[in-house]
Assembly symmetry: C2
Homo-oligomer: 435 residues x 2
């Protein structure tokens, strides 16, 4: 006998979990559908060379496999496969192309709470257009999705990679040291301003430059105020000024798309880890409970060029379904899913089983979800079973009912029971379900 265990860091999703998980992904996909996104699905197994050389350090977390002489690996995200598909099918897909993808990815993370080796993500990207409207759309989608899931206090923090580069230049940081500066200031929320200043100086940044950087990343307030203050610091840097104009246009378009002002804010310290971002970057955070980011995204205009002679500008993000699910369970969010079966048809006796099955069949033909008992048992037992299985109604067709052409409908929410005409049963059940 083999011990029945799933592989560590990989979860079975039982029906209770799947109901909430589907609620989450259906809600997100509905928002994406409204914005005209289409679905793309790619294999979980890729040639190893497709995945290599894109995520730096994390490459050691790849699940590698060999089949015959083929060197393969399980995908660690859905962005690199998107770039591969775009490079191979650009003409066929037609640009701009808005796609979403729902599926698992794999990383051999060390075992800890909230880290999974198999995790589901819902990715959304707009390929082939550098308009700030595209950046604004993906930010609007994130805000709207989190609102619809019930994360009322969620906020999207927004910044721009070229503004960070400009800051480094204006502060007089050498180009080679800039990546390290981004890494340090990205920790502002965790370590505070004094620690950031100290680490900057320790890493070789001058005290003056560190002070300038710290002033900049402390900027707060309405987008217009922050943009104006950024402009006054970076005004002489041409690339940074262009980035500021781009960021201003993105923010204006986010508002035009109907997003409430309290849902997003400029965050001059936000850098985001992934090296492939080239323009705006953003992440979603919750005020309560305090925790890391819910999701991140941004513009990456060069990734597709790794598979193709010409690259295509792209902006997108990925919802981490594991994190959303775990949080919603912890915070008791989402529907309760107590009654997910419409009706349970009891079996009164072996003689009446055929008529009970016919009854179930009629209800199913009308689109209702219906269970039947498998063989007769005490009615009380069958009612308990119906309740346990999440049925809203239990139907009884006994000998007295049969001779009177009736069906008893028991409402399991209230315990109330009343008869309905056998030949009107579909309408009667539908009416009960609507109350």
């Amino acid at each position: 006998m083999i011990t029945p265990r799933s592989y560590k860091g990989m979860r079975d999703h039982l029906p209770d979990a799947m109901r909430l998980r589907r609620y989450i992904t259906d809600t997100l996909i509905d928002v994406l559908r409204r914005y005209g996104f289409e679905e793309l699905s790619t294999p979980i197994v890729e040639y190893a060379e497709t995945l290599e050389g894109k995520i730096g350090e994390d490459e050691k977390l790849l699940f590698r496999l060999q089949f015959g002489s083929d060197q393969l690996a399980l995908r660690y995200d859905q962005t690199v496969p998107l770039a591969r598909v775009i490079a191979a099918n650009e003409g066929k897909l037609g640009m701009p192309f808005k796609r979403y993808a729902l599926g698992q990815s794999y990383r051999g993370e060390r075992q800890q709470r909230g880290r999974y080796r198999e995790f589901w993500q819902l990715d959304a990207d707009i390929v082939g257009v550098d308009s700030p409207v595209a950046d604004a759309e993906v930010i609007a989608i994130v805000c709207e999705s989190l609102q619809r899931l019930g994360f009322a206090g969620a906020r999207v923090l927004i910044n721009h990679r070229e503004i960070l580069s400009g800051l480094a230049r204006v502060a007089g940081v050498e180009a080679e040291a800039a990546a390290n500066v981004y890494r340090i200031i990205d920790k502002l929320d965790k370590i505070g301003l004094d620690q950031v200043r100290e680490q900057l100086v320790q890493s070789g940044v001058s005290a003056d430059a560190a002070a300038k950087i710290c002033d900049f990343i402390s900027l707060e307030g309405a987008p217009d105020t922050v943009l104006a203050a950024m402009q006054s610091t970076l005004g002489d840097d041409e690339a940074a000024s262009a980035a500021l104009a781009n960021l201003r246009a993105i923010i204006e378009n986010v508002a035009l798309l109907g997003v409430a002002p309290e849902s997003y804010t400029l965050s001059p310290a936000l850098a985001r880890g992934l090296s492939y971002y080239t323009g705006c970057v953003f992440e979603a955070v919750l005020a309560e409970p305090p925790m890391g980011s819910l999701l991140g995204g941004g513009r990456y205009d060069n990734l597709i060029g790794m598979f193709s002679k010409r690259s295509l500008p792209t902006v997108g993000f990925a919802f981490g379904i594991e994190r959303l699910y775990d949080l919603m369970v912890e915070l008791k969010m989402g529907p309760t899913f107590e009654r997910f079966i419409d009706a349970y048809v009891t079996i009164f006796s072996p003689e009446l089983e055929p008529e009970s099955l016919r009854l179930a069949s009629e209800l199913r033909a009308a689109g209702l979800s219906v269970l039947t008992a498998y063989g007769p048992a005490r009615l009380g037992t069958q009612f308990s079973e119906a309740d346990r299985k999440g049925a809203t109604l239990a139907l009884v067709y006994g000998p007295d009912d049969a001779s009177a052409n009736l069906v008893q409908i028991k409402d399991l929410r209230t315990g109330a029971q009343e008869p309905a005409a056998r030949d009107q049963i579909v309408a009667a059940v539908q009416q009960k379900l609507q109350t």
Copy 2:
């Protein structure tokens, strides 16, 4: 630059394909929902020992991988993971348990048309009950699903493993030789009755026994007729008689569940390859085009026992989504999906872009799927783009419209264009979409 290619035998599913694939799986899941099935999802990666020793020869097709010292493999079906989950969660799930699972499995098949190394399956199983009503439900689900997908000529062939065993005993075949007999008679459709007889004799079955077997597997007609003829051959064999009674009860229940008689038939030659079946077996076939089975299933009462002290009776099947999809494309079945975006909002000029984005946002808030142009272009170009992107309507908000508080609605199905009041635009668009 890396060549953008997917691994052989694994397909990218572009949006055109995904629309049909989702139509297929949504249709099948809707049927399962009506029968009260709930969703279960398990990891694609399993400990190798979980998968080993269950599929005989095919085990060499496993995609194996190692992570640290962990010996792992990609699942080759969703039935063995189901057995593992049931063994680990029996009390939590509550029996009987009706579950479906949609996902990929992996087999390193040789490259040929219609064979994929990554393939999607939709599995459905009823665990924990041996009632013939359960067998009948899964058969009814198969019939109903294929009807709803448009496979009007599909038929489900039904047999019973214990009837085959009885036949072998009654014909005097040694127990060890029986598996080989099943293998030969299962080929009846492909090689014909004479070849079956010849191969039986070549394999060591006596001429008398071969004749008896061939008479039996040639039985045809309405279920009652075939069951009576089977009974007269097998009547003295106790286990076979019990199997006949079980098969009769299953068939009667299939009829009670509302399945049309022409959708299913008894097929005494049907054996089905998988060694774990213990009761009824079935497969779905198409009359046109002539081809192998669309799907197969049956009762397997011992599999869960490989992971648990006590086994649980189970009956189920798996739809092969790759095959359904390939067939529906080949036979031009299913919806055409020409218009899957509700509206495309054109951008007349940079000045009017903000108002056009607001318009799009209003329509999205009403649940419609809406694309906008990314920046202005000639209206003709924008209309072509709208058409190419699958939009039903194109909306124009130009300077004249702005001053008259109008929006022009162009119906891309007919080319007709007419104005609607700006403040009634949601209702006007919804009405157009309903025509």
